[in-house]
Symmetry: C2
């Protein structure tokens, strides 16, 4: 039995506000290649992935044009400019994929090192599940706090029930597209990831977590760039 | 006005189960000094800290004896063997401190790089608060999930309300000692940190979060040791 088509959507539309500095973190250089290019690489080399789409920050549109023209990525089919929020960018990206039957792997362009085997396991799980996400158990105790100048702890969930959600997050296209339509109709824009939308609009759908590598780091702070340089020397020889 | 006495309690009693390998992570070498010694250093150099106590893994008792005898740490007053759980070890450690009026900073021996200024700010806040913890905003979306072979997401708290709790966690001694007595009486042993106990037993006490450095990492996975080596070259020249 042949399987549904698999699309990857790479998000490189962010402004990098939390990071500081002049260049959004997805465009920083890591050993001669930008962070988001490392991310594209991971999907290009997986034989489970058929097509790749890219969302890019408007100021860096020329980068997407150059990469597309260069032919370096055989699977890269197109790109679009990002929206105001992450959620907006995903919605725009889903609009590039003219298929409602396949699956999409939505991936942060600031995560350069998702292992090939994690991508492939995710696709495998999507054969009989509609929403599957790479995640890692929380290393630290996490608290939910009332935000204020000095936050006050509201509750501390049991640590072994807390997981950090990585990307890619994988979905049946029909489901995630419908979730974004519902959010659009409601005027809801604040989702920090895509499974939040599934939980918000589809009480009966399950979002499954499978174990992701600790190497699949998200580059957020300047320190993370240093860490990424250490990882490169270990991961890609 | 003179301030209450400040004690540091360093926890190096763990078995390092999550880490793998033969040596618990607090005893790994980082540039000629063990991880937990880096941790002790941070409190030794703070002029806000008066005395230091240490909890150690029974197999490594000789290390504590050697360090104490060496006189290298002027403030180190004593040590004890750890208990079965982290919570047990803290309870034992609090028993070493014969003072109910001062404050205690409880610190994981696997966090080698808590900055001096973070320790000092924490002590400052403890002048008018009974429970204060260093914390950093969650970088990733966190999910609460039903644990099982393939966990299913139960809820996703709003990201800007979630904080990773670091250590040291600072408390008035009278409060944290009473919390541990209550836990002992209840037979509750599962606290992954100490503010969980405050929340559990003192509905009216507030636990405050102050911003901790991203460099205050917890060494959990082998990768973290590599990261720690990068940090040393940046932090301690």
């Amino acid at each position: 039995m042949s399987f549904l088509k698999v699309y990857a959507l790479i998000l490189a539309g962010g402004e990098g506000i939390r990071f500081g500095g002049d260049v959004p973190k997805q465009f920083l250089d890591l050993n001669g290649r930008m962070v988001f290019e490392w991310a594209i690489d991971s999907f290009e080399v997986s034989d489970k992935v058929d097509e790749i789409f890219l969302i890019i920050n408007s100021k860096y549109k020329h980068l997407a044009e150059e990469i597309l023209k260069s032919g370096r990525y055989r699977k890269l089919r197109g790109f679009s400019i990002g929206g105001e929020t992450r959620q907006d960018s995903v919605r725009i990206g889903l609009g590039l994929i003219e298929d409602d039957e396949g699956v999409v792997l939505i991936h942060d362009g600031v995560r350069p090192f998702v292992p090939l085997e994690d991508i492939n396991r995710l696709v495998e799980e999507l054969k009989d599940k509609k929403a599957v996400v790479l995640a890692s158990p929380a290393k630290e105790t996490m608290a939910i706090a009332f935000s204020s100048l000095i936050p006050v702890v509201e509750s501390i969930p049991q640590r072994d029930k807390i997981f950090a959600l990585q990307t890619p997050q994988g979905f049946r296209l029909s489901l995630i597209k419908e979730a974004h339509v519902k959010a659009w109709n409601e005027g809801f824009k604040g989702a920090s990831d895509d499974c939040s939308l599934i939980l918000r609009y589809f009480k009966d759908e399950k979002v499954y977590l499978i174990s992701g590598s600790p190497y699949n780091i998200k580059i957020t702070y300047p320190l993370d760039v240093e860490i990424a340089r250490v990882l490169i020397s270990k991961l890609r020889k």
